[in-house]
């Protein structure tokens, strides 16, 4: 009885061992085959992350006020490229509001001007500003126009998809910036405020 039992047991044992071996081989094969692909993907993801950490820079033209003539002049700067156009415009405006690198130039917007928000609606870029630029009730037309076109020209020169720029202050539409020029419509770039390059 014992022997017959042990024979039966042996058969079962062999059969189950074979079965286990087959299953193990199949599982191993599947794991090896599939396991390779995710590993490759992980490597790719890591490469992308490394690229992002390096932060892509872009060269932009910014428009500042000349210290001699009352006109805007171009200065090149490098800004961090955002993850989309809106982000990049945000970076560009921060660079513009920081002021020029050259000591011969002045900022055309009042110091302390801050960006609240940027929206892009079709080809209109809406910039929402705050700080002294929003609280200054009145100043000269020239100060007003040069502040406006320093912003408008800087955005449109570097982002060709943006055709015009609408300025709002503290989240609200305002009649004028400093008492003269209507802010109702978006502004198209105007290079007549920029010094002609000789």
């Amino acid at each position: 009885m014992r022997e017959s039992l042990s024979q039966v047991q042996k058969r079962y044992l062999i059969a189950s061992l074979v079965l286990l071996a087959v299953i193990a081989v199949v599982i191993a094969a599947v794991l090896i085959f599939k396991g390779k692909q995710p590993q490759e993907k992980e490597v790719e993801v890591q490469v992308q992350k490394e690229e992002k950490q390096e932060k892509e820079l872009m060269k932009v033209k910014l428009y500042f006020l000349d210290g001699e003539e009352n006109v805007l002049v171009e200065e090149e700067k490098e800004i961090e490229k955002g993850k989309n156009e809106r982000d990049s415009i945000r970076n560009l405006l921060s660079a513009l509001f920081e002021g020029p690198s050259s000591p011969q130039l002045l900022s055309a917007v009042p110091e302390g001007t801050h960006l609240r928000q940027v929206y892009i609606i079709e080809h209109v870029c809406v910039v929402d500003l705050t700080g002294p630029i929003a609280s200054m009730a009145s100043d000269g037309s020239s100060a007003e126009l040069l502040a406006i076109y320093s912003i408008v020209n800087s955005i449109t020169a570097n982002f060709p998809d943006v055709r015009s720029v609408k300025i709002i202050l503290d989240g609200m539409e305002r009649e004028t910036l400093f008492g003269h020029v209507s802010l109702k419509d978006p502004f198209f770039p105007d290079m007549s405020y920029v010094a002609s390059q000789q």
């Binding site: 000349d66 000269g140 020029v181 109702k184 978006p186 198209f188």
Partner: protein, 349 residues
């Protein structure tokens, strides 16, 4: 999914839009309203000066137009294939502006007779409106020594008024006589109500560059006026990112003035700007590059040749000193006067 969309499309055809049309004369304009029980798309097309077509969705049903008007003589509604065409015929040449309202959705069109003869009549300049910039709590720019723009503009305007009255015998109106606040719209309205032939807004400039110097004379820019329709589209889009109560929908009057008023006088305005700029440049002695265009709010609604003069830079310490001298102020007024006379003579020929 596609079947589902097709179903929705068919349902929307079956549950068609219902439109009502009504119109009435108002003191200043004739209003035509298209009211829908849901939002609809539309297009407005000018066939000629007397005929305006409104294109509406072809699946719409409608009730007969109701209203009475002297200006709007006939309303015809025709279904042409996929489009419902509403043709409006007017007794006079018209200009229009439009905007939309919600709950219920309405398309509102305002029609006004087109202003006749935009040119100044030969040799007739009867009324000149001078606008001393700023005033009251709005000081304008302030010079390094503390001179306020609002005071200088009033001094020059009063001096210029007496020269014009004595030499030309014309009626001269100032938009303010004292140190008071007057809104930009009010200033333009004063000129329009006086049926002025010339409007001159007088300012003193300022720049963050303290060396800036010299006169600049502005007239309204063409570019800024190029599309009321786009402005409207923009406003509708803005509703997606801003709470609607924060978006100021332009009133019909604003829209139409923006669209039409000053744009008819741009040629004369640019001429007036050139003459004034030349005379001031001769006095202050800076190169001529000074006639410029910008979307100045105070010029937009003006129904006459209109310019804004920035006499000189108050932010420049040397110029500020000169500007405080009464003798120099007389010279400024004389230069402005000569510019105006040259303009009048130019159109008298």
């Amino acid at each position: 999914m596609r079947r589902f969309l097709t179903l929705i499309f068919l349902c929307s055809l079956l549950l068609s839009l219902n439109l009502k049309f009504r119109y009435a004369d108002h003191p200043d304009f004739t209003r035509f309203v298209v009211e829908g029980d849901e939002e609809f798309v539309y297009d407005i097309i000018r066939q000629d000066d007397f005929t305006i077509d409104i294109l509406l969705p072809g699946n719409a049903s409608w009730e007969n137009p109701a209203g009475e008007s002297k200006l709007l003589q006939r309303v015809e509604v025709n279904r042409a294939e996929e489009v419902l065409e509403v043709r409006l015929r007017f007794s006079k040449a018209v200009i229009w502006s439009s905007f939309t309202l919600r709950s219920p959705f309405r398309l509102v069109l305002d029609f006004r007779p087109r202003p006749v003869s935009p040119k100044i009549k030969r040799g007739i300049v009867r009324t000149i409106v001078l606008d001393p910039g700023h005033g009251g709590e709005e000081t304008g720019s302030i010079g390094p020594a503390g001179t306020k723009e609002k005071d200088l503009t009033l001094i020059i305007a009063k001096k210029l008024r007496s020269i014009l009255r004595n030499s030309l015998g014309v009626r001269v109106i100032l938009t303010r006589e004292d140190d008071v606040y007057v809104s930009l719209d009010e200033r333009t309205a004063i000129a329009n109500n006086a049926k002025a032939d010339i409007f001159i807004s007088i300012h003193f400039n300022a720049s963050r560059n303290r060396k800036a110097k010299g006169p600049e004379t502005y007239f309204l820019s063409y570019k800024a006026t190029d599309s009321a329709a786009r402005l409207q589209a923009y406003r509708e889009n803005m509703a997606l990112v801003m709470p609607p109560e924060d978006i100021k929908i332009p009133t019909d009057v604003e829209m139409i003035l923006w669209d039409m008023a000053q744009s008819q006088y741009l040629q004369q305005s640019s001429r007036l700007a050139e003459f004034i700029q030349e005379e001031l440049s001769n006095l202050i002695g800076v190169k001529k590059r000074g006639v410029k265009q910008a979307p100045f709010k105070v010029l937009m609604g003006a129904l006459m040749p209109a310019v804004l003069v920035e006499v000189d830079f108050l932010s420049n310490p040397e110029e500020e000193k000169k500007l405080l001298d009464p003798e120099f102020q007389n010279k400024i007024a004389m230069s402005l006067y000569r510019g105006i006379v040259r303009f009048i003579q130019f159109y008298q020929r």
